[in-house]
Symmetry: C2
């Protein structure tokens, strides 16, 4: 894998000087096209051998291109906010927005590689980390992030010679890295595991480029050209037809409606019984959330449901007995301009609960496979892959210790009609009902199909859906609280 990056590539000054001005101008033009199209963002991952010119190349790119459109981030020791969230959170919060370029100096690859070299993780954990990185990158690519993965390389002899020459140079003594590169064994391990990572993670949507780093001119020109050609190809590619997604499954299954249809919506709870059970469950929740074993974890409850199914009321019954400092309600509405300039999951990553936090989502990422699917706000390809992206996302939450509880509040069409009318007749409830709600209602069956698909594809062992029969608000509220409590108890017992 590194063979051709150990042969001493070099380029003479005259050739370099002759090519550079045109390269710089072309890079600038590509950068402005990127900005103007505002359709793609660029993410450059910088990895490789110590002393091979990683930092120098980053500086050079900033010099050659318009630095106002570039942001460099590094990821050394994570902050406690970062440690309190799933590992990918720190990368998500630094993603470049459309039209811009982000350089990650240190990233998921350097993390897994250093962990492996230092023996902090074993073979199978490395394999899992590589897989996870591929899923992340694939999603980012589909969402318009153009990823360049650059590995700067040096043969062992060249590296040792270089480190030696830099040792006493005060201008370069910053190159002392946490890995002890002076040791020949470190290099061997780094290259062996690096090779493994590159091999497994070089994919059509985001291949690795290995650049020999011993000659500054060769290395700089190569990096610049790579970037230029990749960028221009992507910018020209605007009119390519999107890959044909697998045929949408909803229309194939004539029995679809049965999932929601199978619910016994007539389940009710009398007023006295409701009051008793409600207070009991609220007290139980309040107790559970103060349990020390839960403080090390996060809790995420999300609510989806038919319009007017009573999401807001159910959420208020959940929070009624809680200190407002104990939870945060996230109201999901149409994405803002900033959010639209990012991969679609970005706005949810922003609101992921940290350790010890309880986040309640009033609507959620499932809008992607519900309203966005039904209303055609995204393409079939987009919502079809969203199922996988969502499962990956929730898996990361659960692995970081978050308890994920998901509710679908279901009512029938007649009940919805009655509630719509009641809202229209109550002044302070009128804001809850819009033309859009009436329009959505006309697509009742399509939403039913989408819900069935959603539950089939995203109700997982680690984050199951709970369907809540909600024709009777009292029944629904108690069922929500009880389900949440049971999930928390199960989590504590583990």
């Amino acid at each position: 894998m590194f063979e051709s990056a150990e042969i001493g590539h070099a380029i003479d000054k005259a050739s370099y000087d002759a090519e550079l001005p045109a390269l710089r101008e072309a890079l600038l033009q590509a950068q402005y096209r990127l900005k103007e199209q505002a359709r793609l963002s660029v993410l450059i991952l910088i990895n490789g051998i110590e002393g091979a010119g990683k930092g120098e190349t980053i500086k050079l790119l900033n010099e050659w291109m318009d630095p106002r459109l570039i942001r460099v981030d590094h990821f050394d020791v994570p902050s406690d906010e970062e440690l309190a969230h799933p590992p990918a959170w720190r990368y998500w919060r630094r993603l470049p927005e459309k039209g811009r370029t982000g350089i990650f100096f240190g990233n998921w690859y350097s993390k897994m590689l250093e962990d492996r070299v230092h023996g902090r993780i074993g073979k199978s954990d490395l394999a899992l980390a590589i897989d996870r990185a591929q899923r992340l990158e694939q999603m980012l690519c589909k969402e318009g992030v153009l990823i360049f993965k650059l590995w700067f390389h040096l043969s062992k002899d060249r590296m040792l010679a270089r480190l030696d020459s830099l040792k006493d140079d005060p201008l370069h003594s910053w190159r002392i890295s946490p890995l002890d590169w002076q040791q020949s064994k470190t290099y061997d391990k780094f290259v062996r595991y690096g090779e493994l990572i590159l091999r497994r993670s070089s994919r059509d949507f985001a291949p690795w480029y290995v650049i020999e780093g011993s000659d500054e001119r060769y290395r700089s020109l190569t990096a610049g050209r790579l970037l230029l050609e990749g960028l221009n190809a992507a910018l020209d590619g605007v009119d390519q037809p999107p890959a044909q997604p697998h045929v949408a499954p909803a229309e194939l299954n004539i029995d679809r409606l049965s999932l929601l249809g199978s619910l016994d919506l007539e389940q009710r709870l009398g007023k006295t019984e409701y009051q008793r059970q409600l207070v009991e469950e609220q007290a139980r929740l309040s107790r559970l959330l103060r349990d020390r074993r839960l403080r090390k974890r996060g809790v995420l409850a999300l609510f989806e449901g038919h319009d007017a199914a009573g999401k807001g009321g159910a959420i208020r019954r959940v929070t009624a007995a809680l200190d407002p400092r104990l939870y945060r309600t996230v109201q999901v509405a149409a994405p803002t301009e900033d959010e639209l300039a990012q991969p679609w999951l970005w706005r949810f990553w922003r609101n992921v609960p940290g350790r010890g936090q309880f986040a309640i989502f009033d609507r959620s990422w499932y809008g992607r496979v519900l309203v966005e699917r039904v209303e055609g706000f995204c393409t079939p390809e987009q919502w079809l892959r969203a199922y996988t992206e969502i499962n990956d996302f929730e898996e990361q939450l659960v692995e970081a210790g978050v308890v994920v509880v998901k509710f679908w509040l279901s009512i029938d069409k007649q009940t919805q009609l009655e509630r719509f009318k009641e809202r229209e007749n109550t002044p302070h409830k009128r804001f809850k009902i819009t033309e859009e709600d009436w329009r959505n209602r006309e697509k009742w069956d399509e939403y039913g199909n989408a819900v069935a698909d959603m539950v089939d594809r995203t109700s997982t062992e680690i984050a199951p859906w709970t369907l809540v029969e909600a024709n009777d608000k009292r029944f629904a509220r108690v069922k929500v609280l009880r389900t949440l409590n049971e999930a928390l108890e199960a989590a504590i017992a583990k």
Copy 2:
């Protein structure tokens, strides 16, 4: 101060039920007007006695109004990212954007009050904290943040009775607060210092409202009405003429040009001498930045200057010998939509360096009193008060341990012309020169006045300006590096 909030205010259920629907409708309407005007944001500070209904009122507001436009934040134990920044940073990062409402449950007042009650700060520190809060609030108000400060009150007897009744109620046991409210002494201290804080911080632009909290209906209606009336008054106030600012000083001083004119721009450095001194200063900087005594502090260097004065080149000489992970360059361009929806300093607060970080600003908040002033992008009232706001801002940085170094790179008009032409004739430099640069050039003298004012008003002992004679790039670059190094050495020696 609390007299009329200890007399047992109450309202009967019939009156409450009669008023509520109209109040809720009006609040919703005001909220939508707020959203539509997108001219103001609302910030509600919630403080007061334990058990007086603070949390309940927050929940109620979320129920009465459209919760999608409200965000509740609390500020308990700061994260390490927050601890690594000036104290106000954590509030700035949570400010509501225009059109929206933020509720700060726990805020700068609860912080100072608890610190005082627990004896963590003394009398004069409390006075300073109050002053600082006033300056912050005044700025926020001027920037379109409508602040409501609500103090929920209970007499001591009522509080003790209330806590007693809640003690065994599992639904309310979360009310146990870090302050031990059961102790009569705690209440006395809390009320005594609270009274002091309210007295000193109740100002025309953001007065306190004290609400007796023993009766839920009274307290809720009062808070709702307060909010409604304040909000409507502010929303109606759009056409009020702005307060007349103090007359702009620039035009009064016929000698203004002398500041920049007094610089000896002909200072030069030969090539050999330049190379020697440059490397020496770069090595010194690299050494200083790795000094352990500096790791507990932040460093902020900002660069302003005439167009084509060589800011970019000077910055690159500063970073040349540094690991890219050691610094971050912040390129200040026109504000984004998100940034425009916030007080003008918000986008700089976002980029303040934390402990151990080095941030380099290529242009900065001084744009407010330079380009924005000269081009009329802000009103005289706005840029006049900006001097004070900037000095306050920098004082907070310095108090948090940040070393602030500010450079103005000065060239003469002829040198600028030559550099403009050279840029136009070099393809990869062409992006650096725009029509705007030529237009700015026509206002050379006005910019000169603005610079002189800026230096006079913001060159402070804690954050002085360094004027850099930049006709000769070599001279300028070495002076920048040397000045920075001296500032760092002085900081370390302290």
